[in-house]
């Protein structure tokens, strides 16, 4: 198994190029998840707590968007950010920022849809009490988000999983430029197509290790929080 051995050698060598790829991947995915969280959770809460014509259709569309094809999102953002596109003046195409936008679009519906369901379920439980305590609309939203925080971690983790594993959208809008927009997933795709399996496997190991570590940390934080808050 020479490729596996080379992969471990590469990881242990502390290759700066490899660590730059890992750092960029984390920066892009965590930024996308951050944006998806600060927009997605309030959006989910808003849909959970309000009643308006067409609400059911909005929920169906939001749920369906969890399965958005990444290449399609990449294509749409590519068209929007290209020189002749409506957002071309921003000059973001083939930059890490464009990759954050692409992953953010993929992550947002996942976080919003799971948050909507979680908060709506909790609202069913809390409605009478909060109404009796005369808690205002914003107070209700904040209370539900706070009290559902341990469940909402799952939504954020699902979003991170999607972002970290994604390749189709970011390869289109980022261009997979070495040292600039090359991430772990785009490198794995490229190196595999070139036949350099040791780097691809090394990056794969790092990617899986990061995903497992972040999920483990979140699980520990959730356990500790539940023990303290009930």
């Amino acid at each position: 198994m020479p490729d596996h051995a080379s992969a471990f050698d590469l990881l242990l060598s502390g290759d700066p190029a490899l660590f730059a790829i890992v750092a960029l991947s984390l920066a892009v995915s965590l930024s996308a998840v951050f944006v998806g969280t600060i927009i997605g959770i309030p959006l989910g809460a808003l849909i959970a707590l309000t009643r308006f014509p067409g609400r059911e259709a909005v929920i169906v569309v939001l749920n369906a968007m969890m399965g958005l094809p990444p290449v399609l999102v990449g294509l749409a953002i590519f068209l929007a950010l290209s020189h002749s596109g409506p957002l071309g003046f921003l000059g973001l195409l083939f930059t890490p920022q464009a990759m954050v936008v692409a992953q953010g679009v993929l992550v947002l519906p996942i976080i919003a849809a799971i948050a909507r369901q979680t908060i709506e379920d909790l609202w069913g439980e809390y409605r009478d009490e909060l109404t009796a305590m005369r808690v205002g609309a914003l107070g209700c939203v904040w209370t539900l988000i706070w009290d559902a925080r341990f469940s909402l971690v799952t939504a954020v983790l699902a979003g991170f999983g999607r972002a970290a594993a994604e390749v189709g959208a970011i390869i289109i809008v980022g261009g997979n430029i070495q040292g600039f927009t090359r991430t772990m997933t785009t490198s794995i795709a490229l190196e595999t197509s070139k036949g350099d399996l040791s780097l691809a496997i090394g990056l794969g190991i790092v990617l899986v290790a990061i995903i497992v570590s972040i999920n483990a940390l979140a699980w520990l934080a959730r356990r500790a929080g539940e023990r303290l808050a009930g």
């Binding site: 809390y126 009478d128 009796a132 808690v135 107070g139 303290l228 808050a229």
Partner: protein, 240 residues
């Protein structure tokens, strides 16, 4: 000690509640005034919970009207309710009470003293740091009562407050109710427990199939109920 406020009397005038075509309360007319607790009794599905929610102002009548106070301008903020199955917020017991104090806009500086006072009142002074959802059913009921009292209500509604509590838990809760009553807070409660009704009630309201069958002072009611349904209920018969 409270001075009676403008929430009393609570006057129901031909108030009905109809949901999904089902009549839950049917043309209820009565007045709840100052004094000892008013206890609603009646079998399951008789409309007790809906009556309490209506009196609390959480729902509006489908027809008829309800008013609070002589001039009909009672303040919603001075009413509180403890539900049959109170929901504990996911935080400590003390934080649950603090949340209610915040909702009632009690100044932050006064909150800690009020939290301590209310937890002591319901016998939970030693459990302030415990996650509310990890408390026993009886403790959760008492915590819900502390939370309801946070807004310093003048009228308190209790829905089956001792249902599912063991005798010791029920006795502890009844003791707290007596303390609340001694503070000049009007208590209106629903119960299945005739013994509890005898021990606490100043006035009895019998509900059956959404209608008020009779309203009497407790002593008179238990001595000589006016209606055959009330007589059967007191004797332990099942009312259809």
């Amino acid at each position: 000690m409270h001075t009676p406020d403008s929430n009393l009397p609570i006057a129901f005038e031909q108030a009905s509640v109809i949901a999904n075509g089902v009549t839950i309360l049917d043309r209820v007319s009565l007045s709840l005034g100052h004094g000892a607790p008013t206890v609603l009794i009646g079998p399951n599905g008789s409309g007790k919970t809906t009556f309490l929610k209506l009196a609390m102002g959480l729902i509006t009548p489908s027809s008829g009207r309800i008013s609070w106070g002589t001039h009909g301008n009672g303040r919603l903020e001075q009413r509180a309710i403890v539900f049959q199955h109170p929901t504990m917020l996911r935080r400590s017991a003390a934080s649950n009470v603090r949340y209610a104090l915040n909702a009632a806009r009690i100044p932050r500086k006064q909150q800690q003293a009020r939290v301590d006072e209310l937890l002591a009142l319901v016998g939970l002074a030693a459990l302030g740091d415990r996650p509310a959802r990890r408390m026993s059913g009886g403790e959760q009921k008492r915590l819900a009562l502390a939370r309801a009292l946070a807004r310093d209500p003048t009228v308190l509604f209790l829905d089956e407050p001792t249902a599912s509590l063991d005798p010791a838990g029920a006795r502890a809760f009844e003791d707290v109710i007596r303390t609340v009553v001694s503070r000049n807070i009007k208590v209106v409660m629903a119960t299945h427990d005739l013994g509890e009704a005898k021990r606490l009630a100043g006035e009895i309201v019998v509900l059956h199939r959404g209608r008020v069958l009779e309203t009497s002072p407790a002593a008179v009611f238990f001595d000589s109920p006016k209606t055959s349904e009330a007589k059967r209920f007191i004797s332990g018969e099942l009312l259809a």
